[in-house]
Amino acid sequence: METAVHSREIRKDNPTLHKILRSIIWILLILLTAFTLIPFVWMISSSLKLDREVFAFPMRWIPETFHWENYSLIWQKVPLVTYFKNTAFIAIVVTLLQTLTSSFAAYAFAKLNFRGRDVLFLCYIGTIAVPWQAYMLPQFIMMRSIGLYDTLWAMVVLQAFSAFGVFLMRQFYRSIPTELCEAARLDGLSEYGIWARIMLPLSKAAIATLVIFTFVNTWNDYMGPMIYLTRDINKTVQVGLRRFIQENSSDYHLIMAASLCSLLPVSVVFLCLQRYFIEGIATSGLKG
């Protein structure tokens, strides 16, 4: 909006300056876009080559012959459909649980005063700071003991209660004026009511953010499924991808094809949710 307001003014004052500014922004954008996209162009072109052409010099951006069959090969070489189903299941359930429980817990951390709040919150932050590799083993032994090893639920419980979501939502809730909650309390709304009727509707952008991050992280997680999922029927896409890297050969062209395929679902999720970043919410928020 800042751009909008201001550009209107510039336009009034100085149409040339406005034009120059515009073009600078666009040039910048185009350069950044190129920087971001060139690796993907390479990935697409590699996914249509033969394995030995992938790293051949001089490099060719456009493959000599297009090997479209790579895209059907990946589905035959490994049970990619099963992997996609598993990944989708884990990602969806984790995202639902994570969003719901974190926004609930974050409300307490952000807007309620209670004994032990800071200590508990420090626990959350503290565990974010410990690398997973350090406590992977005790966690694994425990998961096994409750019979979750090699089930999709292992991945669900592992990721659904992460401290990250709580932290993220807490930060967003803190930016919502406390006066709003107090006013609602005076109106006789219970804390649950405040959460449901005021916080949730106001935090659409935050929730969209959390949904995107949780979904993407779960979708792309490799180490977790690698350790916890063993049977082929339980594996996820990322684990499946590594099957193209073998002891004595690596099918980079197939890795590229498969990872481009796995890019699609996450991009769709992003596309669907990103409109929440356009809808302003704060204006109505302040007016209560």
Binding site: E2, T3, V5, H6, L29, T33, F35, W42, M43, F55, F57, M59, L100, F104, Y107, A108, N113, Y124, I125, G126, T127, A129, P131, Q133, A134, Y135, P138, M142, L158, F161, S162, F164, G165, V166, Q171, F172, R174, S175, E191, W195, A205, A206, A208, T209, I212, V216, Y222, Q238, I255, M256, S259, L263, Q274, R275, F277, E279, I281, A282, T283, G285
Partner: protein
């Protein structure tokens, strides 16, 4: 106010507080139970493990060794003999620490600047949906593919070096095989991958800036730069705080990119704390020592985070 009245008020406050606490815990419970069982308890186990020697297998083989693991990783004997320089130049932990801090100090501000710039550029612009999606792409793609791809881009005769040569800079070496550039290749990939991710956070936060503030600033005759400096930036503080905390933590925990692209090399040029932990735990099977390194990491990150929280409080008091 009489004594009894004060007591009454206190009593009521106490009751209120207790009720509040109960309500608060009911909010926390669903997340906290899962969190405690599946994360907190294992983490506590790992902390305890740093005081033991354990090379896996039966738990009867756990041997309490006190601070021995710490003495080993800090190479205390050698350091006492040869001075601190030994720690930072020769000991694995010292080198890993140095590399990790270097990586973090460069990556965090660089990513934040890029992310913020992108968010501001894309906040209101024609075709924003397209660009936003484009910049988010790197974060969405799978790590293997990205790292393989960048390894190629950064080869001796690869596209990046060709551009550099075209700019007249004489650099003719594969990035990942050069001990000064290797860490920069990790930084480059990290920034490239994560700027879109943090851009999303900033985009969401930009929606939270009340339009009235902007309008008021314009009425007061603030130019665009002043507006940005005095209105936008302060409003983005909670997000910047969150972003910087998360980034510092995740930078200290850098693992995948290094594991796939350089494997800590050449030599120990990109050895990071977590690659070191991974090595100790799973290659050398010394879980106690691996836990001790994690504790070093934990302490550093907690210190940084506490400092950041301190400054957050200061900000919000302003």
């Amino acid at each position: 106010m009489s004594q009894s009245e004060v007591r009454k008020v206190r009593y009521r406050m106490g009751k209120l507080e207790r009720k509040n606490t109960l309500v608060a815990y009911s909010f926390l419970a669903p997340n906290f139970i899962g969190f405690a069982v599946f994360t907190l308890v294992p983490v506590i186990c790992a902390i305890a493990l740093s005081l033991f020697e354990w090379n896996g297998g039966d738990i009867s083989k756990l041997k309490f060794v006190g601070l021995d693991n710490y003495a080993t990783i800090f190479a205390t004997k050698k350091v006492a003999e040869k001075g601190l320089a030994y720690f930072f130049n020769r000991a694995d932990l010292g080198i890993a620490l140095k590399n990790t801090v270097y990586y973090t100090v460069v990556t965090v501000p660089l990513t934040i600047i890029c992310a913020l710039a992108l968010a501001l550029l894309l906040n209101k612009i024609r075709g924003a949906v397209f660009f936003r999606t484009v910049f988010f792409f790197p974060y969405v793609s799978s790590m293997v593919a990205i790292c393989v791809c960048w390894s190629f881009m950064l080869m001796k005769d690869g596209p990046v070096n060709q551009i550099i040569m075209a700019l007249g800079i004489n650099f003719n070496k594969g990035w990942t095989a050069d001990s000064t550039m290797a860490i920069w290749s990790i930084i480059l990939v990290s920034v490239w991958r994560n700027m879109g991710y943090y851009m999303v956070l900033y985009l969401a936060a930009l929606q939270g800036i009340p339009r009235e503030l902007m309008e008021a600033a314009t009425v007061d005759g603030a130019n665009k730069w002043q507006q940005f400096w005095h209105v936008t930036l302060p409003q983005l503080k909670p997000t910047t705080f969150f972003v910087s905390v998360m980034m510092v933590i995740s930078c200290f925990k850098i693992y995948d990119v290094v594991a796939i692209m350089t494997d800590g090399g050449p030599g120990r040029a990109t050895k990071m704390l977590v690659t070191y932990i991974y090595d100790e735990a799973f290659i050398k099977v010394r879980y106690g020592q691996a836990s001790a390194i994690s504790m070093v990491l934990l302490v550093i990150v907690l210190l940084v985070t506490i400092i950041q929280f301190g400054s957050e409080k200061k900000f919000s008091n302003d």
